[in-house]
């Protein structure tokens, strides 16, 4: 509890407020507007192969369609959380604060555990705000575009809860990946660069070379989960893989942090 409270005081500052809540909320609003206004005119995603597409009116008007923007929001929101978690860890090394923290509280596993819990709590608030913005903007935007939304009433609660769960879980794992990279590199710039570079560039290249493999890789799985699963990888399998990636990130971070000398 002590490491959690200590970390929460440190992350409760303007850089995290605006860099976290502000940017994610901004992305959610921007993407929502874009998805709804483009639905009637923009091309849909190709049925097979590579290519980018937008949500169609039919998709938006279907049951659970009020969450259509969520899968697109999850990418940039995930990157924001990856960067914030990485910054929270790597800044301790770059400033030398890690020396003070470990000297004051040598239980390293608990220290990092408290940091994970505090960042998790912070991220939970961020994902909740982002999710609610997507949901609350859905109806007025659909009305503006003349999209019928009667079907949204079908299983609204289950779609809402499942969407919230998937989105939150996926974004937490984005954060955990940022944590692991920062513990490994001890540099915010390196951790963010490697994380974003891998997820946006390397996975895209892998998708070209081995299209079937993409859905099992971290970035693909996280997007897949927020989309509610695909025929290639079910929702349940997506959850299992995402949880596995999260556990790997936590274990690697704890093992490395416990064993490594503090030379910062």
């Amino acid at each position: 509890m002590r490491p959690f409270r200590s970390e929460f005081i440190r992350i409760w500052r303007p850089a995290f407020f605006y860099g976290g809540y502000g940017v994610m909320a901004g992305f959610a609003a921007l993407v929502s507007v874009f998805i709804y206004t483009a639905a009637k005119t923009a091309p849909a995603a190709p049925a097979a192969g590579q290519g980018f597409g937008f949500a169609t009116v039919a998709q938006i008007a279907s049951p659970g369609g009020f969450l259509t923007a969520l899968s697109t929001v999850s990418g940039p929101a995930g990157v924001v959380l990856l960067a914030l978690w990485a910054m929270a860890v790597a800044t301790d090394y770059s400033t030398g604060l890690i020396r003070i923290l470990v000297q004051a509280y040598p239980h390293r596993m608990k220290l990092l555990g408290g940091k994970i819990a505090a960042l998790g709590a912070f991220s939970l608030i961020a994902t909740t705000i982002t999710f609610l913005i997507v949901v609350f903007l859905a109806r007025p935007l659909a009305r503006l575009e003349g999209i019928k939304v009667e079907a949204w009433r079908t299983d609204f609660a289950s779609h809402f809860l499942k969407g919230y769960f998937d989105f939150t879980l996926a974004l937490m794992v984005w954060g955990l990946i940022g944590l692991m990279l920062a513990v490994l590199t001890r540099s915010a710039a390196l951790a963010i660069g490697i994380g974003i570079g891998y997820l946006l560039v390397v996975e895209s290249l892998i998708a070209i070379v081995a299209p079937d493999a993409k859905k099992y890789l971290p970035g693909g799985t996280l997007t897949n989960l927020v989309s509610g699963g695909t025929p290639g990888l079910s929702w349940g399998a997506s959850i299992g893989l995402v949880v596995l990636y999260g556990i790997i990130a936590i274990v690697v971070s704890l093992v490395v942090f416990r064993a490594r000398d503090i030379v910062a």
């Binding site: 002590r2 490491p3 400033t95 923290l101 503090i262 030379v263």
Partner: protein
């Protein structure tokens, strides 16, 4: 009881032996100077003692507890290691609040240490706006938070103005006078000399000296420097000084006589007896800096060269 005790403490970084088989014992109570040239292994030793770095060999205790279990003494130790480190976007108070929460201390303790280090009134400003001296005070406040039995400070007066240096020096002395131990690592030997009771001197990771300041200063050379009022009297002065069996050397218009400083009056009498009027008669003694440099080397550049040669020797 010892505040710090190490035996055969060793740390290697690849081929480099940063700390080599160091053994010393620091008694509890008083101020201990931890000195050595840059890159001599001071910080590595302190980090091993505080559980930040694992030793490659050897053992040690802090306040009677083994260094392998820093959790057993962490609540009784405060440290400022190298430069003070804080979250710039938080106020000084919130930075300390965060550390107090980590140590399980009440908020009131934050106000107490802010007052002790003289930061009251600026505590609600962001740490990023603090001057170097204020950051140093904030770092000291963080180290004082647990009301420690052992306070380990690296360059505690760095960035402070003269008044601040005197203030912190007095604070450390009063802190140590209550039976607590303060370990001060510094390259400012004049600063160290003014406050320490004991010294640990390290060079190239090897222990050069561990003991009282008095014991080390016993090795300090003393001399009396005299200057005749008339330059023409110098040969006569040399003659009468040497007649006393004292060794001396002429340096410009001054005569350096190698006798204990307390014999300066006798030198004056001998000169007067020979009809030589002195315009200057100064008893002098080596400072800690002089003794230290004689023990460790003359300059960082020279030490770096020696270090390079030592590493090459190890590699061949």
């Amino acid at each position: 009881m010892s505040a710090l005790s190490v035996e055969g403490l060793t740390r290697r970084f690849g081929d480099l032996v940063a700390v080599k088989d160091v053994t010393f014992d620091v008694p509890a109570g008083g101020v201990v100077g931890f000195v050595g040239p840059n890159g001599s292994g001071k910080s590595t030793t302190i980090r091993m003692l505080l559980g930040l770095i694992k030793p490659s060999g050897g053992t040690g205790t802090v306040l009677g507890e083994p260094i392998e279990h820093p959790e057993r003494f962490a609540d009784r130790v405060g440290a400022l290691i190298e430069s003070p480190a804080f979250v710039g976007g938080l106020t000084g108070r919130d930075n300390l609040r965060s550390l107090a929460a980590l140590r399980g201390l009440p908020r009131a303790r934050v106000d107490e240490v802010l007052a002790i280090v003289g930061l009251a009134g600026r505590e609600n400003d962001k740490a990023s706006t603090y001057s170097l001296g204020m950051k140093q005070r904030l770092g000291l406040a963080a180290a004082l938070l647990p009301d420690p039995e052992l306070l380990v400070l690296d360059e505690p007066t760095n960035g402070l103005d003269p008044a601040g240096i005197v203030e912190i020096r007095e604070l450390l002395r009063s802190w140590a006078s209550g039976g607590r131990t303060v370990v001060v690592s510094s390259h400012l030997l004049g600063e160290i000399q003014a406050i320490v009771d004991n010294l640990v001197v390290i060079r190239f990771g090897e222990l050069m000296y561990a003991g009282s300041l008095e014991g080390l200063m016993a090795e300090a050379a003393e001399r009396v420097v005299a200057a005749p009022e008339a330059a023409a009297d110098m040969p006569r002065l040399v003659e009468v000084v040497e007649a006393q069996g004292w060794t001396c050397e002429v340096s410009g218009d001054e005569l350096i006589i190698h006798v204990p400083a307390q014999q300066s009056a006798e030198v004056g009498r001998v000169a007067g007896g020979a009809g030589v009027t002195l315009r200057m008669l100064n008893p002098e003694a080596d400072t800690l800096e002089t003794v230290f440099l004689r023990m460790t080397g003359t300059s960082d550049a020279e030490l770096s060269e020696q270090r390079r040669a030592q590493r090459q020797g190890q590699g061949s």
